[in-house]
């Protein structure tokens, strides 16, 4: 069965500190993984996708098939990074999300 797990409901860091939002998945096939972000009073939107191997707003995420993980990282957090972050897995016809992690960046 497809499953996405984000173990942390809330992650609170100070500005300038490194950030790692954890995501683990369960999928029998070749996974397509994504990170979505929801800023306050905005719609949920795509942040990055694993296949692009891109860095968006300083965030990166590496797919580790051995550990079935897709953790989101940023070396230096900014206050504007405060938001809800969702890890997502695409399967045949559907897109499932984890429970979400609220990132709070304190000044």
């Amino acid at each position: 069965a497809q499953r996405v797990t984000q173990p942390e409901k809330l992650l609170s860091v100070f500005k300038g500190a490194p950030v790692e939002l954890k995501c683990n998945y369960s999928y029998s096939g070749s996974p397509e993984l994504f990170w979505y972000v929801q800023y306050s009073r905005q719609r949920l939107q795509l942040l990055l996708r694993h296949i692009s191997r891109e860095s968006i707003k300083g965030f990166t995420a590496d797919l580790n098939k051995g550990e079935t993980s897709f953790h989101l990282k940023k070396p230096f957090a900014q206050e504007e990074d405060s938001a809800m972050y969702y890890c997502a897995l695409s399967g045949p016809g559907k897109l499932i999300f984890g429970q979400g992690t609220t990132l709070q960046v304190k000044p």
Binding site: S90, F97, G98
Partner: protein, 114 residues
Amino acid sequence: SQTIHQWPATLVQPVGSPLSLECTVEGTSNPNLYWYRQAAGRGLQLLFYSVGIGQISSEVPQNLSASRPQDRQFILSSKKLLLSDSGFYLCAWSVLGRGNTEAFFGQGTRLTVV
């Protein structure tokens, strides 16, 4: 450009009343369509998804149903609402392509069952 419309934005309904939430997509054809419920502590729960007209897959057993009468229209319904149906409902669409599955979300509907 593609857009997604979801309405109403807020809705207050009495227990036992029917429900109909509508979602329409513009600017694309044959999209995959999704209904999610967003709840604190439970994240974004997939309720239904559809890969084509009349094709509905349900992810969780519940008091709700979904229909897709047209290619770009997705409707979430209930014959009799329960208190537990209260929540924030999101419609989304995507066009599947290898490694290019980006989903676009509507503004959401805040449903309160009283």
